[in-house]
Symmetry: C2
Subunit: 168 residues, 2 copies
């Protein structure tokens, strides 16, 4: 089966392949700088009606600049090689289908542009879809940290996962 | 830009185009019946290592049997035409890129097969990706219901959204 998708817009961030991107969203970003936004193809702008009633969105995007090969077992970079997990037990971008998924806070919708909280993608990343993140349906309060729970340095690693800047 | 994806497995459910699927997962399903599972292509089975440490997963899939056209403004079927919202403010499957996203509870991993809680897709739906749902990163406890909050019959509609069977 051939599954072909189209770019419906572009995600803009301050990150480039040269400068690098953090492993997860940086939480100390100043929203007033409006550095993170989605530019939807104007042909789809009518599809944004009432999107601004949501606090959070899912952004689905195509990881178009992979810098590492897709391997079935990986060692997350922030574990210093101490742990190996299956690719599907990780959020590594190098996947058989490199579809990225981020939950972002919606700041404002202005025409076909949507300002969001930070996300860890390169500038000009192709957008595939926007979905509302719906309380109860998507908020699993009994979710866990999986294998991260078993790591001796879990509290420190969570700072990396959540993109919270900290002293090493 | 041409973005082509591949089927990496198949999602199995009791639902067919003929029988129909609920709008959202049915929550009174008996897990012992094991009717909902993902059959991953065995070539990727090594990628499941330690997936079973997670309580919840994201499944990304290709909506291969759309029964309605993609329109930028829609009226969700359970609102009886009382409300019109933009497509991207809805979870309608008829999207420019028909990528479905469901949060499911992981029940067990057995070889290349993953048993899950119910999800509202047809049997034999092509799987695109599996990602771990990670507490904190994905659990937004201050998420809202968006425009659903403004509906006069919100409590009833939430039963539909959450797939909870009820008297009409």
């Amino acid at each position: 089966m051939s599954i072909c998708l189209q770019e419906i817009g572009t995600i803009h961030t301050p990150y480039s392949l040269a400068s690098g991107a953090p492993y997860q969203p940086v939480s100390d970003n100043d929203p007033a700088q409006r550095q993170f936004y989605v530019e939807l193809d104007p042909a789809y702008a009518a599809g944004l009606h009432r999107l601004d009633s949501y606090a959070y969105l899912y952004l689905l995007f195509y990881v178009d600049r992979l810098t590492k090969p897709c391997r079935m077992q990986i060692s997350p970079p922030w574990t210093d090689g101490a742990v190996t997990v299956g690719l599907f037990a990780s959020r590594s971008p190098a996947r058989p289908n490199p579809i990225g998924l981020s939950v972002v806070r919606l700041l404002s919708v202005e025409g076909a542009r949507i300002y969001t909280s930070p996300l860890d993608v390169f500038d000009n990343t192709p957008l595939l879809d926007i979905k509302p993140y719906i309380r109860d349906l998507d908020t699993k309060t009994d979710a866990n940290y999986g294998w991260i729970d078993d790591l001796p340095d879990k509290e420190h690693l969570m700072l990396h996962i959540l993109g919270i800047p900290h002293e090493f």
